[in-house]
Symmetry: C2
């Protein structure tokens, strides 16, 4: 079942199809399909409008008064809403701030400080470079050792093999950036806790794509970006989650005024704010947060369960088309075939993937290439359609033949 | 000479007067004067337009391709231009990134690492909270001691008194956030270097307001924000300067992918990028940088020397009016009277300043209050007029009487 009729049927049955109209249309006639929303989600129409309003009315007319009229509360307010809609996090535990790298640094430092006497950090060799680089950086400054999990698809048993009484924290991605394999967040968190260590979850490829249940899993820390499935914009601020049970002891070293108990008190010494606000440092990036706010609001309207259901259906559709059209041409599927284990993209591998990716992009099939030989097909349920996916897969078949 | 005619004459002679038309008009009829551009500069009309274009055309239509079509280069490109126009910095030494807090943390860590065997950081008790908090945080993690300069207006001799063979770095603000006193950047840098230590300059209140000559002074590191005199927007990204002679050894611990030599290489180990790019961490905040780019471009058009000349004239005008109208009411002037020692604002003190500030703001005189008793009158040469200042001072006189 790879026909145009089948694609049309899937589009017709798609409960989220109308959401595509809420986004800035792709006016470039050369674009066949946008399958890179897992790198950069498309802009909402409302984000452009809100930015204009913000510049004219809040920044331009209310001026400095806007800080007291809502801006100062935005990191926590948007964080709470993101927690509610996408992360399974009760209010007061999530804030929007900095970049993922800076948030990761803060949480890793906090995790290490919370486990004195333990001198190892655990991470997998296949994790995203930033995560690995930061684990090594924080380990080096603490005199800790990095214990590597050498697995492409990290399972609880892989974590168990390297986690023990010396482990301070385990850093893992919830959804693998290459294969889209979903890690067992709850199971691994339980295991890590059983060994007395803490978890730092990178949710970059799950936030806004699959339901995350941080509180239910008892996760310690999490970070993630908002410019993929949350459509917040290029380099939009990241988010950081700290489970409430760690708030009192949570300490991070970038002690800027926004993390202080009395920001405008100009106190002689840094006293951390109560709660999650102590994870802040500098002045909140108001313009950048507009996209986060709009993206989270749209997700609330769509519902993360419906988004997930469509992501699964889109993934299955890609697999069907890949099996019918690409596997015979020498492609292999690098993502889990089991729906429950596959996140919001499908990766296919091809020996000539790097060159082929360039050709595809030139021909309007906007996917991305991940070394050494992966072509990532990103599926954004709020914007991606089944006919669009089919057109892209047909073009891949044509260009790879 | 405090007459309306004098104000009109000064406005008529103001070479920069026409620049005010380049900004979003203040439509709120209740605003008498905006004298808080040193907290939040007003938005340029072009910033709103560029944001719209960016959302629609770059993000919306070019999509992910925009990263290769210019976005990735923005931190360095805008940094270079900022360096040229406002900081006296040759290309390749300035980047736009993060918040001032994060940039300060990175430079402090780098400075400490560059001076092994030295175990003191020097800072003044009157410095901005973030700077003090971060100096203490970095000192604590390095096992260093903070040596405090207890002076309201830091002079070279104050620095000399606490700087010696144990000093790793000296952290100072170029322009004092309370009094607007200008520190002798070149002289203090020379003195600190003579003692074998490094300088970290906070340019938050000088960038875009007074010409800074970082290269000429041989300054080591500098950071600053862009949302004051550069009009880049609330929480817009900060900037970070590292003198080229330190690039090879410059190391900072927030080792995200954007600071790696091969960002998309997905390498096994972090290898820092050559040059200033190694100071980056996460994905650059593209929307936030629009305001920086526009603000720097307008400053280039106006010229920092003309901006400075008008800031001096506005400051003198405030002092004349304060002497005539406010000193008789119990105010004192807390800013240097010598033009060459006064930055872009004038602070007056009053025992009842906190309450009075609230009243002033309610009556449309948008100044800000700084504890314990300062009213800061911010002067933004690209938007502030002499008649506007006079109206505000008249209102202060009226409300304080």
């Amino acid at each position: 079942m790879t026909t145009l009729e089948e694609a049309a049927r899937l589009d017709a049955e798609d409960e989220l199809a109308a959401f595509a109209d809420r986004f800035v249309p792709i006016t470039d006639p050369g674009v066949v399909a946008y399958l890179d929303g897992n790198s950069l989600g498309r802009p909402l129409l409302s984000t452009g409008q809100r930015l204009q309003e913000l510049v004219t009315h809040e920044w331009g007319a209310r001026l400095i008064r806007s800080w007291d009229e809502g801006w100062l509360e935005l990191p926590g307010r948007i964080g709470d809403e993101l927690g509610r809609v996408a992360l399974g996090a009760a209010p007061g535990q999530t804030i929007v701030a900095d970049s993922t790298s800076v948030c990761l640094y803060k949480t890793l430092r906090a995790a290490v400080a919370l486990r004195p006497g333990r001198d190892e950090l655990v991470i997998d060799t296949g994790n995203f470079p930033t995560d690995r680089f930061l684990a090594e950086s924080v380990a080096a400054e603490a005199g800790h050792t990095v214990r590597w999990i050498d697995a492409d698809d990290v399972r609880a048993e892989d974590v168990a093999a390297v986690t023990g009484p010396r482990t301070a924290a385990v850093v893992l991605s919830h959804v693998d950036y290459r294969s889209a394999a979903i890690a067992d967040l709850a199971g691994i968190t339980r295991l890590v806790h059983d060994r007395g260590a803490l978890t730092v979850w990178d949710l970059c490829h799950s936030a806004g794509s699959i339901p995350v249940e941080l509180d239910a899993a008892g996760a310690d820390f999490a970070v993630g970006c908002t410019y993929k499935f949350l459509n917040a914009g290029p380099g939009a601020p990241a988010f950081l989650y700290v489970n409430a049970r760690h708030h009192e002891e949570f300490a991070q070293p970038i002690t800027g005024w926004m993390g202080a108990a009395d920001t405008f008190g100009m106190a002689a010494r840094y006293v951390p704010a109560p709660g999650i606000r102590r994870a802040l440092s500098g002045t909140p990036p108001v313009l950048g947060m507009v996209g986060v706010q709009e993206g989270v609001a749209l997700l609330a309207e769509a519902g993360i369960e419906r988004v997930r259901a469509k992501a699964v259906a889109l993934g299955r559709w890609v697999l069907d088309l890949a099996d019918a059209w690409l596997v015979p041409l020498g492609f292999t599927v690098a993502s889990p075939r089991e729906d429950a284990r596959r996140g919001g993209h499908v990766t296919v591998r091809h020996p000539d993937a790097e060159r082929l990716s360039r050709v595809l992009i030139e021909h309007g099939v906007l996917i991305d290439f991940r070394r050494p030989d992966g072509i990532r097909i990103g599926l954004s349920p709020l914007t991606t359609g089944f006919t669009e996916v089919r057109a892209a897969m047909a073009r891949i078949r044509e260009l790879a033949a």
